[in-house]
């Protein structure tokens, strides 16, 4: 890509900073069925995730979801595989980078903070914003851009319950440049 082409692309992608994407309210409340299915695969045997009676007399006094399920409640579902991820500004930005040869993608870092444990019946909403996009960088995978989304999680009363940052590298595969 010429310097002018890069400048034109960067002007377009940096315009995505601050754009909201993928905001939604979970179709299912926090429930013991999905928690149990998760625990089966992860090998998690904590009674406070699995046994309502035991949880009632435990330190929490109630059943709670595993912490890292915070981002599970609002997943898009099977449509991702069957018809594709619904369009939002993040998907648009990825497609724009793809079209300019930055078609590699890899998640590099994610942090979840938990303000409280989620209980049965909680209905979790999330709002995701493209928070920042790096200058063009040279990495081991190829040249590209790191972008970071920030997701805020709230409950049915609008109270914050958690926060997630998620960093992704969109890169032009190094082998492609050699070809």
């Amino acid at each position: 890509m010429s310097t002018e082409d890069i400048a034109a692309l960067e002007e377009k992608i940096y315009a995505y900073v601050g754009r909201e994407c993928g905001s939604a309210t979970a179709k299912d409340p926090v429930n013991k069925i999905m928690i149990r299915h998760w625990c089966e695969v992860m090998g998690n045997t904590c009674p406070d995730h699995l046994d309502e009676e035991a949880a009632a007399v435990g330190s929490r006094g109630t059943l709670v979801a595993p912490a890292t399920m915070m981002f599970v409640w609002n997943q898009t579902g099977y449509a991702v595989a069957s018809t594709g991820r619904p369009k939002d500004p993040q998907v648009e930005m990825i497609e724009m980078l793809d079209a300019h040869g930055y078609n590699g993608i890899v998640a590099t870092d994610t942090t979840q903070e938990y303000l409280r444990e989620l209980r049965l019946g909680d209905v979790i909403s999330q709002r995701t914003v493209i928070d920042n996009i790096s200058p063009r960088k040279t990495t081991g995978l190829g040249e590209g851009y790191f972008y970071e989304t920030v997701t805020a999680f709230t409950d049915q009363n609008g109270e914050p319950v958690g926060r997630q940052t998620f960093k992704v590298l969109k890169f032009r595969p190094a082998q492609q440049d050699q070809a």
């Binding site: 090998g43 904590c46 599970v72 595989a81 979840q112 903070e113």
Partner: protein, 137 residues
């Protein structure tokens, strides 16, 4: 799962027992489904190969879930997760083993920071995590 650890039983530098986890097609695909991550690279081998990978590979939510479970088994039932930061490295591809290990980084009052590494025997560091746990009472 251990009995609840007390802060007096935890010190900086303390190591957690290693846990080897066989990475199988079942763990990868069923982990993706249990976390409702329907990206094809986690369940469709032909699709994953077309994207340049040797096979399906583990999704992040499963790596986080295995990390949470590893820490839960060590710290005991009552501790509460406050934060989990995860740095992602090599992919977890079926036919390999990821060995989890951990080390205590700080203890302040009831708050403990633990670093967890998931080392893939073929591809290298899969995940390096830093967890903040609050012990009960």
């Amino acid at each position: 799962m251990n009995q609840n650890l007390k802060s007096t039983e935890i010190h900086v530098g303390q190591t957690l027992p290693e846990r080897p986890i066989p990475v199988t097609s079942s763990l990868v695909t069923c982990g993706a489904l249990a976390t409702r991550d329907f990206e094809k690279v986690h369940h469709d081998k032909a699709f994953a190969q077309a994207s340049g990978m040797p096979d399906v590979y583990m999704n992040i939510l499963t790596s986080q879930g295995l990390t949470e479970t590893y820490l839960r088994d060590w710290v005991g039932r009552d501790a509460v997760f406050r934060k989990l930061s995860v740095r992602l490295g090599a992919p977890n591809i079926p036919g390999t083993t990821m060995t989890m290990s951990g080390q205590v980084k700080s203890v302040e009052g009831n708050v403990v920071e633990v670093e967890v590494t998931g080392q893939n025997d073929k591809w290298g560091m899969h995940v390096k995590a830093l967890a903040t746990l609050e012990l009960a009472g």
